[in-house]
Amino acid sequence: MLKRLISLFLLCYLPASFAYLEIEITQGVDSAIPVAVVPFAGTESLPKDLNVSDIIQNDLRRSGEFKIFSEKDMAQKPSDSNEVEFAYWRNLSQEALVIGEVLPMAGNRYQVKFSLYDLFTQAGTANPSPILVREFVIDAKQLRHLAHHISDLIYEKLTGFPGAFSTRIAYVALSWNNGKPGQYRLDVADADGFNPQTILRSNEPIMSPTWSPDGKQLAYVSFEKHRAQIYIADVATGQRKLVSSAPGINGAPAFSPDGRKLALVLSHANVPKIFILDLSNDKLTQVTQGSSIDTEPFWLDANHLIFTSNRSGQPQIYKVNLNNKKVDRMTFTGEYNARASVTPNGEYMVMIHGNKGRYHIAAQNLRNNHILILTQTSMDESPSLAPNGRMIIYGTVNKNKRVLSAVSIDGRVKLLIPTQEGDVQEPAWSPKLM
């Protein structure tokens, strides 16, 4: 198997208070598509963190699905279609070529153009036309997000799947103080680890961050009052509202697909059950009944939830129909299956899969219920799917610290995101933000 170790020091200049995130591709795909992203004309005068073509290269490389041709080895650096000598790139076995330019305009604005060429399927054409051409006019501060958007467009054109680069990751960071938990933080960073921002700091645990479908709000659980309470925060401002503070458990919030309801876990009657809170009128409806532990609701669609329950003895995944409350068991393989979510196309269910005290991330093919164990590490937790269903970010342990890691839905691509200090845990991948 092809093993690569590429360190991308993306964020070296960040303030010291933020963990700087470095992403290592620990395993890539043998069949990664060779792509040349020529440095865009005009980027040499931009600050490094706004270098559009650099950001695109890093995005595509980080997906594990592309092999990015080294800039240093480029004898030609065209930025206009007239300058492209296709034979040169074909001789280098490149299957796709990206060229572009960034032109400064008045008022700290920029015009950004790019073209994508397919050299593989159009191998017989001497001078192929670009398969994608786009032009944007934006503010300087939008350059980074525009680069991610361009990466999304290129990714979709070349793989057939929407990109997930215009996204963010929420996670909980924990610093230790003389062997005891010190400070907990709820942070949100761009999906490439850039620009981490703290939404909440507390000396008591924070857990269960989850995004609203529009990516504008985060629900989370905070123990700051020495009780579990669920808040919904506006991501942009951090302003928040207390939505659940019942005696016992207030946990595992999950927004409905329309964002109007919140599934959550309450233990009113001394046993955790799943409820739905209507956010418009605070009306609470109990979904599951009985004496078993029911937790970790995930919305399959407006009318179905999947959840973890120990009603058969050990935790397994079940599906409940919200209209008739009928419950069906979903998992039959393994002694411990928990925290399930399903890809947008409904093909795979991703979950924590445990056997004999070892907990891995696994994907269950929902057509044949075959389970593929995606990770070899044994303390994996909180799998969270990218909005395109192609990657899963999750928490694991590396060198005795909790870190984030990512794996592709087929297990072929693996990324590690080591941290400098403390633990980083419970990642939640945002919906597409652009």
Binding site: F223, R227, V265, N270, I293
Partner: protein, 173 residues
Amino acid sequence: MKLNTWVKLTTLAIAAVAMVGCSKPKDDENNVSVDDESSISGAGSYSSFTGGEMTAEEAETLRQQRVFYFAYDSSTLPPEDLRAIEAHAYYLVHHPNARVRVEGHTDSRGSREYNIALGERRAQAVARVLYLAGVENHQVAVVSYGAEKPAVQGMNEEAWRYNRRAEIVYEAE
């Protein structure tokens, strides 16, 4: 209050108390792991202790133990811990304004949310002993932290043993 006589205890007795308070969690192999149903029936064995007399001094001594450890995947209290929890009950019954938070904790393996549920069972096992001994509901808050607030840092059996616990924390004494 009658209970304040405990301060006259000899330093030797206090040393003994300190040792009780720091008692180590039992090894896994010494505790039988049980399923949910038997953990509920486990609270029934408490009734054999309810007839026991407890003096204020004894209660105050036993009350120094505020952490109770559990076997892997179990919410059954070791029988030898019941007297100490009963001592907290004694105090709470005699101090109607006192309030405790019973915290349930798990080790860090598995699903965080599921661990919240398991931690709650541990806290409930302790709270149940308090209620049975006559403590009022409003004096006790059951809070599960799951794996989120470990007592000991580490990713090994030793750390996990100290983290599978329930703690009685006085919010008003």
